[in-house]
Symmetry: D2
Subunit: 476 residues, 4 copies
């Protein structure tokens, strides 16, 4: 099958899935304005692959068959592949207005994890599934985070056993699963959902050690789209220049006794492998994350430099200081992302992966510095971020001249307001809240990143540092 | 005139003022749902004065006449008065759901500044105006920040001379002013607007050194309400528990050759006094600010403690660490605010004012730590802040049982979602953006606060510290 | 007995105690130059009480007998007493060149804890001991921190049972104790040593739940003075203007089967009271700590302002910014210290104590900001801090003219070098290291301070904040 | 001439130079214990070149002549050369116990700058001088920082015209220079001193725009060695494990009418080139700096991990958190240093240089995080850093058993005390102060680094970020 077009992708989403939004069942996602924004946003990924200017980056060829497929599916074999993957993700996100498209990225992160961690028959199933997705140019979601209930308790200790997705039955044909995942991105507008365990599992949690894939219209599967951020469909492009066009959908993903045939079951009641699978996926996905954060931090720096000029404050010492800090923040994230790629390691089955310590450093640097970056940007921009005119004001022939007169800075009002609205959209409205919460929670929390940094450092780097300290201390 | 009721206040706003919102002229502010939320919010201030539980705090008596008036108008004479004023502002803001009502606070900050800085006839006019406002129990706005144009240039250097409000004519009857102020809070729903110069002015900017008061329906005055945050009128109380009920209105406040009679002109073309007036107002207003931030920081700590319990993570070391940092942040702001009051000084005409260095320290501590506080709170709460269900989902009899089952934590889902939505509203939606931008820009920027801290320290404290350092160094 | 003179104090230290320094047994502490510096430093406390300019602060009168005694011994009954105590400690430390004298402060912190926590006979013994110390105008040390061995293990779990001080025998006459305390300040140059348990103890650690007092020359007691910082005796006053004159002595304090008569035993094998005693002492002592940090932070600000002037850089924006941050740091510590006193509470037996939450906030603010403050100060001062001339260079008639010519700044070289050397001594030499390590470890670690803040907040303030958050969320 | 031995280097320093230390003229640097430590430290560099295990890194071959020379002199032509240079500097510093040897590094930084910036005859002289140094395997110092006097004034505005080194006479044979440089490292124990202007110069400062080289024993040149840090010669290896063996010498370097022949004059009264020369040197030197900081940050992490184990606290959450932050700090500096090398650019005359933005980011990350890193390390280690025993105590046969008993942790006392003393030496004693002050002042201040980051970003990266922001805002 050739690369799909954006319209083919859109059409494929009308498949009878049980999708809910704002309290209603949605028969056709393309027909609901808010949701359509997200579909169109994701469709950018298909458009890029058709775009001559991006084909080199976005399309690759199967050496065995000569068939073209989306480069997001390319299994990385070396540092160059990992770097190219980062560049592709960055380019797609840049086209997505700082919002990742995430219909190939997260799914392939998951596929690479399956292909690395699994062995034997399980791996063969993963390979078959990988080819199915790749050759069908499918849009993929990964459902990993369980709703979790009382977080101080293990899955089997919960009052309600369904708070982590679990196997409730198995037969010769397959398994039946029940429970719910949350924060599932791109499920509403994806073709397939790959399910991963959320963490390492002990023997008592064997039923929760399950990984499989289902189509988004599987029987018993219900998707509840979050109402957060209202919808681009209702946003004015004047004061929501990004979020009126770009949006991700997050679902509560409920498995109400969903049957999964064995060919799509990758892990079933094998708790000893749950941790490796969960972690391997996350490590790929954190690298995806830092790659897709680059357009956002670039936009911060560019917007800060622009609004400083437009306000006429670029020569103020404290403005330059804050701008410099923004530069250092953005470029440290970029340099660490590059380093993570250049230091790639070769894992099981010859599949490359970005260096975990450096990947986690990049992600942690991004996440732990994000709020301060927002502060610098808002500080440079000014209070107009939250007191400016609306699109309806701007459209009024009586009001616009007033706004043009009084909102002129060192640049004319239209430019200054446009830049102000960009910053407001990215940092001080719902999209800003979304970016911020994602910074500390998506792809693993700050604590998870710290844990992995220390773990990876301890395994690979600590012996040298400790030996050096001991030598300096006169020991050994 | 007795204390007004909330309904009297509401009725008084329908006075022919030229109010614009969302591209439309608004004849009756009470009739537009979004704006009505703000009116009802401000009305809390009047309700408090009628509430037996708050009268001690909110109502005071004129010792000369025995007449009651709103305690916000009480001229502070000592540290106790300053502390009481802080407590009143805090109580009003607590009732306002972390949003200050700001119809007495900012105006009296301005009146106290006029009463302290002015002398002779000007001061008599200010006193008369003070009594007019106090005895009429009026709702006041202060318009200080000019739109400013190119900030690298002085008012008279701007390409358009109207970018700072200025005197364009004067006669025996009064003056005519032109220009625009921005970020004017409570003008749309206030009775009077007091205008202050935005900063110190040089001789070339004499026309810009002007301070006066006008009613909100003055001829030539137009108010353009910002569309930011949409409006509480359109927000669901489920996922916007605060912003659906509490809101401030900010206007672009345009003076299109507005005539002001001399009795309401406090400063006219006297640049040498502009700085003192601007600064004295701001110093009072920063103290108002830290007083009204206290409910917000309390809500952060309380919500963090609650959601940690509800998520079942209270025993995690890193959660307790972040909670402790939130406590230290909130309580340092509170302690410094108290200290600023207790260290009050007596200024001109026997009017007390909070210690400027300590006030600025309190405000700077609040502002410079705010984004980090948001990060801690969002980190503790979780990704559900931006992926949760909408009010329409919650209202659906089919969907709610699913949400109740799967969003239960260590507490039932209704409680947990309510707390999650509170945190989301305060930090990750438009109100959150508003709170954040206000933290660094309202009542003076971070840089302005630092400047005042150093200035006040240098004047009052540096000599002792320098003498001590020199003694230690063996000098002197 | 009247107030003692400094010489009486010095003479009293030659009492046969087993004092070791630099590998040698020291028969007379006054005869060893390095140690004599510390004795003379402590003697400042006696001189102050004799100084007419300080008597109001430093001397008080027993209302029962009319006898004068050192005000450090005054049992605080209200907030004013607590504030006065803070002022006395600050004044003594200022006279001590930023180094607390600590011969009355820590001991009375301990005595107040004993007088509050103990009951019945034990409290009578504590009262008698209090009068003994007060009326004898004795210099007191407190030995609390055990050497602790493997910190992951409880006292009784240690490989060597002596790693916490413990009771090894008891008889009708008293008890016998063995073990060692470390970081004991002022034991080498104190008259009495009061021993506290280092923390709460469980039932298995009953033998370690012991509190008592012994004279510094008790049989079996050995004091090993740390060699850290060399000694003021060897420092040139040119490049060590403070540490050549002011110094504390820290000992490893070894109890080798020391007999303690019952009248000096305050707690013996009562593990249930160990925690309260340890904590109550520490809470007083943290307040002492923040009080004695004030001269140090003042010196930082004063020295920063001076060296900026002397270098000719006071007008640079980044210098003013750093100076402002130093001011905010110093004055926040001061304001919180004052608040802790003003918010004093009344404890058992009517004895007042500073508010624990605020005290811990003050201490934590000091400690967690200290290194950044050092950075700002060193940044403002310049590299000359570690590349400047020695006292011998300065004393050379050939070299001094060269130094005077080339080290002139905006001020003459002698002033600039004096200020530079002060900063170097306080931050970049051994005394600087001592100040820094004490910031994070003395009187409890950063973690201990955070624990107490949260604990105190939870007990006293959290209910209100939580109720407010719940109300905002629509719960309750 | 072959590679010199350490002894040849030592012998070469006895050349009649006017060296002063502690108020005395020093005829033979090798004969003064304190200074000898620094000579022996620098000699490590020569030993490394003789060491079979390091020859690959430390020795290279002239492709023209086949002669071997120290690899520090290799002119970088590409990213690999720059990376190799970083590795060599790191290895030399690791051998130097975290203290850079700095007898080849800084001098070649200067030589590369001369070879890049100069043209024509001046460049030929620089080339000849380069060969002279390289072929003689000379130890080089660079004197750049002038004493500067009042920093608010330009060189020619100073009250004393000699506060920046200047040309006072010129003739056919050469020039005569007068003035003083400070913070000159390795001049006392170097063979040659290369002089650079300290900054860009305006036309009025033409006489100060001078660059040249002189041998350390030039007539009229006097070197005044700083007394800071006392000397390794007086330090016990027990409690000063590093500083008793490793030390740099800093001099006040006075040119009292020193004659310089034209062949050694690289820039004379050409103010327009002063800035480029100063900056180019500094950019190389900052890369040298971050390369030589790597062993120090490694030692911090290694020592922190070790002392945590030895104290028995490795499992405490807050300890792991601090250790993780130390890891992130150290490894971010390392990753940025590598990135700076890998992103090397090719400058004038085909000479490569590390990417300036990335170099400055690496240096700024190191410098701005250093004090916090010290805090983490000291926090993990404990108060024993400044209350521990001295070498004399340890050597005492009576005292050592007491120390061994009571300072045992989870590891025996000898190991724990050795590690504690290492940390104390690196952070809490004079060497610690030296490391800290160097972090913020050596090779350019924090402000200089920020300036260069922004400048380099603006030139190379800003256009892309700005274009992206404008596109997102709907502009262009």
């Amino acid at each position: 099958m050739p690369l799909r077009t954006a319209d083919e992708y859109r059409a494929g989403l009308v498949d009878g899935r049980r999708l809910h939004y704002q309290g209603q069942l949605v028969p056709d996602i393309n027909a609901v304005a808010d949701l359509r924004v997200a579909v169109d946003h994701a469709a950018i990924d298909f458009d890029l692959a058709q775009d001559p200017g991006h084909r080199d980056l976005a399309v690759t060829v199967d050496p065995d068959t000569g068939a073209e497929y989306n480069a997001g599916y390319r299994i990385p074999r070396n540092a160059e592949d990992v770097m190219a993957r980062s560049n592709l993700i960055e380019a797609g996100t840049a086209a997505g207005g700082t919002v990742v498209t995430l219909i190939h990225e997260i799914g392939t992160d998951g596929l690479f994890a399956l292909l690395r961690v699994l062995e034997g028959e399980a791996r063969e199933k993963a390979e078959a599934y990988y080819r199915h997705c790749r050759d069908g140019d499918l849009a993929l979601a990964v459902a990993q985070t369980d709703v979790k209930g009382d977080r101080s308790k293990a899955p089997h200790q919960q009052a309600d056993p369904d708070l982590y997705v679990r196997v409730v039955d198995r037969s010769d044909e397959g398994i039946v699963v029940r429970g719910a995942k949350c924060h599932t991105t791109s499920s509403a507008n994806g073709d397939e959902i790959i399910v991963f365990p959320t963490r390492a599992m002990g023997p008592d949690d064997a039923d929760y050690a399950v990984s499989f894939a289902v189509p988004a219209n599987a029987d018993g599967l219900s998707l509840y789209v979050s109402g957060y951020g209202g919808g681009g469909g209702g946003h004015d492009a004047f004061d929501h220049p990004v979020s009126s066009r770009h949006k991700l959908l997050e679902t509560l993903t409920v498995f109400d006794d969903v049957f999964v045939p064995w060919e799509r079951v990758f892990l079933c009641q094998e708790p000893e492998k749950a941790g490796a699978l969960a972690l391997t996926f996350v490590e790929y996905h954190r690298f995806t994350a830092v790659s897709y954060k680059l357009p956002l931090v670039d936009a911060f720096v560019g917007a800060a430099a622009q609004i400083a000029e437009m306000n006429g404050v670029m020569k103020a010492g404290h403005i330059r200081d804050k701008l410099t800090h923004l530069v250092a923040y953005a470029e440290t994230v970029r340099a660490l992302t590059e380093s993570a790629a250049l230091r790639s390691r070769i894992g099981e089955h010859g599949i490359a992966y970005p260096d975990p310590m450096t990947t986690n450093m990049a992600k942690f640097t991004f996440a732990s510095g994000f709020y301060k970056a927002v502060e610098w940007l808002q500080d440079i921009a000014g209070g107009l971020l939250v007191t400016g005119p609306s699109g309806a004001d701007w459209d009024s022939t009586e009001i616009r001249p007033v706004l043009e007169k009084y909102y002129a800075g060192a640049s004319p009002a239209p430019e200054r307001l446009a830049m102000m609205n960009l910053i407001s959209d990215l940092t001080a409205r719902d999209l800003g809240g979304y970016h911020a919460v994602l910074a500390v929670h998506a792809e693993g929390s700050l604590e998870a990143e710290k844990l992995q940094m220390l773990r990876s450092y301890t395994a690979n780097h600590a012996p040298k540092a400790i030996a050096y300290a001991r030598k300096l201390a006169g020991l050994d």
